[in-house]
Amino acid sequence: MIERHASVVVQTFVRVLTPLAQLFALYVLAFGHYSPGGGFQAGVILGATYILLALAFGRDILDRKVNQPVCVALGAAGVLLYALTGVAGMAGGGTFLDYSRLPLPVTPVRARYFGILFIETGVTLGVAATLIILFCRLGEQESNR
């Protein structure tokens, strides 16, 4: 079982760092078009902020901050967002995952740009949810055995 860390320095640092790291995850997701980064890395950083919280404040904080079934649903929604972006391209008259035919009021080139953003958001959701639910379960105490 992961206990609350005794040091107030660690706790304060994590309290300050967590929102900044989550903001950085959003930056990595949105700026992946221009620099190294993208949905996968953003998802891992987002998931890692919850692990950081558990390491500083004890595993129990995750029971208050995370609803695991909802987290699973969010991850599934991420994968679905990816697949549906592909289907939307088909609905626009293209092939599966052809973002240039997405029904958006922009040029086909811009539509591909936004299509990439949509699917990267889906990847972020899927990866972050996977990491969080895995850590929630692994950090749990095996009580009723």
Binding site: M1, H33, L55, Y82, V109, I119, L134, F135, L138, E140
Partner: protein, 175 residues
């Protein structure tokens, strides 16, 4: 110069790998494995593969280490004292595979060779057209998410499904 840094990092990588495999304390092994991931990410960065370096840093050095640590908390940090009866078979397989990989290394193109097969097939097309076709300057992102969208879709599905499977397996049983 970068070859020299690369050689140093690769030696460090081998040392860390040996420690991770041989450490009697599994906590030491896990931390060493995290360091291995970090050195690996430095190697990718020196080679110019920044997207891979980024992923290796967050996954190899960060997430896997923490997941292994959490797994150790639920089990034990001591390695099993009983020697595996298959250890000589394992040694033979490891030496054979390593030898085979070393043997075919000479057939690989040199690092950064612009005339190699991977660099002359579809890569130039992606690099030239990524901006005009997808408005995305980072070709790694446009290849992963657009040109090779199928691969990334299935990858994401695999990650999520594997995580969901572990989550379900570890669900506490109610009496």
């Amino acid at each position: 110069m970068s070859e020299l840094i690369l050689a140093g990092l690769l030696v460090l990588l081998v040392l860390l790998a040996v420690v991770a495999v041989r450490a009697p304390d599994l906590l030491l092994a896990v931390i060493t494995l995290g360091a291995y991931g970090f050195v690996m990410s430095l190697i990718w960065a020196v080679m110019g593969a920044l997207d891979v370096a980024f992923t290796e840093a967050v996954v190899g050095a960060g997430a896997t280490t923490v997941l292994f640590l959490a797994a150790l908390l639920r089990t034990s940090r001591r390695r099993s004292p009983a020697a595996s009866p298959l250890r000589w078979v394992a040694l033979a397989v490891a030496l054979g595979t390593g030898g085979a990989v070393l043997g075919v290394t000479s057939g690989l193109p040199r690092w950064g060779d612009p005339t190699s097969a991977p660099a002359t097939h579809v890569s130039p097309r992606y690099l030239v057209r990524t901006l005009s076709e997808t408005a995305t300057p980072n070709a790694v992102t446009s290849v992963l998410a657009d040109y090779r969208g199928y691969d990334t879709l299935v990858e994401t599905t695999v990650i999520f499904t594997a995580g969901l499977g572990c989550w379900l397996l570890l669900t506490p049983r109610r009496r």
